[in-house]
């Protein structure tokens, strides 16, 4: 198989997997945070801050994956 097309394919599949993983991660995080602040509305502010930090960290990992995918596609262009 043509290595260039394989690289494109892997970049696409990789980006999809990253999206699935991050979506699940942040989704679970948001669900728990919502549940927490529904049970204890007075803790809402704290929960939100912690949630945003945790979401940013999950996102950071996702971006590492995305950067690898982007590099794969850029390599094939150059």
């Amino acid at each position: 198989m043509d290595p260039v097309s394989l690289a494109w394919l892997s970049a696409g599949i990789g980006a999809g997997l990253v999206a699935i993983g991050t979506g699940m991660g942040i989704g679970r995080l948001a669900a728990s945070a919502l549940e927490g602040s529904a049970r204890q509305p007075e803790a809402g502010g704290d929960l939100r801050t912690t949630m945003i930090i945790a979401a940013a960290l999950i996102e950071g990992v996702a971006f590492f994956g995305l950067v690898v995918c982007i590099l794969l596609t850029l390599k094939t262009v150059a």
Partner: protein
Amino acid sequence: MTNRFFRAPLFGALLALVMVGTIAPAHAAGEDGEFDAIGHTMDGNYLDFSPFGKVELPRIFLVRKADGSIGLDVYGSTKQALLTGDYVMASSYADEAHAEDGYGDAEESAYGEAGYGDAPADEATATQEAISKGKHLYGGLTRAKGDVIVDFSITRHLLFAWLAILILCLLFIPMAGKYKQGIGRTEAPRGKKMNMLETLVLYIRDEVARPNLGEKTDKFLPYLLTIFFFILTCNLLGLIPFGATATANITTTAVLAIFTFIVTQFAGTKDYWMHVFNPPGIPWFVKPIMIPIEFLGLFIKPFALAIRLFANMTAGHLVILNLIGLIFAIRAILGDGAGWGTAVPSYFLTVFIYGLEVLVAFIQAYVFTILSALFIGMAAAEHEHHGHEPHAHEQTVGTEAVI
């Protein structure tokens, strides 16, 4: 009702996306690659005012000349640098033009290898052609004789970073003067601008800095505020028409992250360094594993900061450009009618993503600031050691989990 109203275009767009995904590769090869989504978000030596045209920015090079001396070359624009003949294009476009010319020659002249002698003339025509097509802005430049040591050229991201600095200075220096006079301290702040900015400043102080830094807040607050407002301004400048996002450049975000890294290391107490190089409260045989991890963690944290901001700012713009590009992709495949049909959902999705981008501009500035505050706070915290209790151990684990 509203649900159904929203769902239909979304579903259509999704369907279109799937269709493009399956059909586009076959057609994309045949298309002329005029729509360059990646190039738009990347740095460049021009300001993009399309459709009104482009303004070229100055080029400055530190060069080693052919005779070995070091000098500075300054040109008003990329075009000038090329026209003086000191510089040639290093891009694939020039090579392409070259290859085409060579091919044409071979076809035209039945004599065969006539084209090799006049290479310089060939290059000049290729350069001329590239300039007339406006493609000279997309490739690198190399010096014809000697080589470039550092490219100091003023790029558009640099220009927009300067613009952000200028805006911040114009906003905050008069504000600081007012506070020195007592307006806002002894009486209520006056005017919309002052009230708005005070809200943001107080939010950063009370919600971001205080919880993480405690009593050392005042020492690090100026840094946190500067970084927050700079990132925010850069992000928002990228959202105005003809703007460019300076924070969508890995160099900008890396420099910001390096600032946080340096501030963190200088804020570090004895406890902080001990936790890195001799973590207390863990068995001796774990230490050979823990110490390298802790040490690497010092660098991974700012690295993640830089990548996060860069990727967030780039990704949003790419999504918008791709949604707009979808119209043309579909038009190329299914004809004009389908193109017009795609324009409607594509437009609404673009507006939606743009709204999201405004949100992301604030969130990312906030995230960068709060993580900086967190890292600095962890380094600057002076926790008491009650012997070697699990508490101290937990602190170490917490540090790792935060990367």
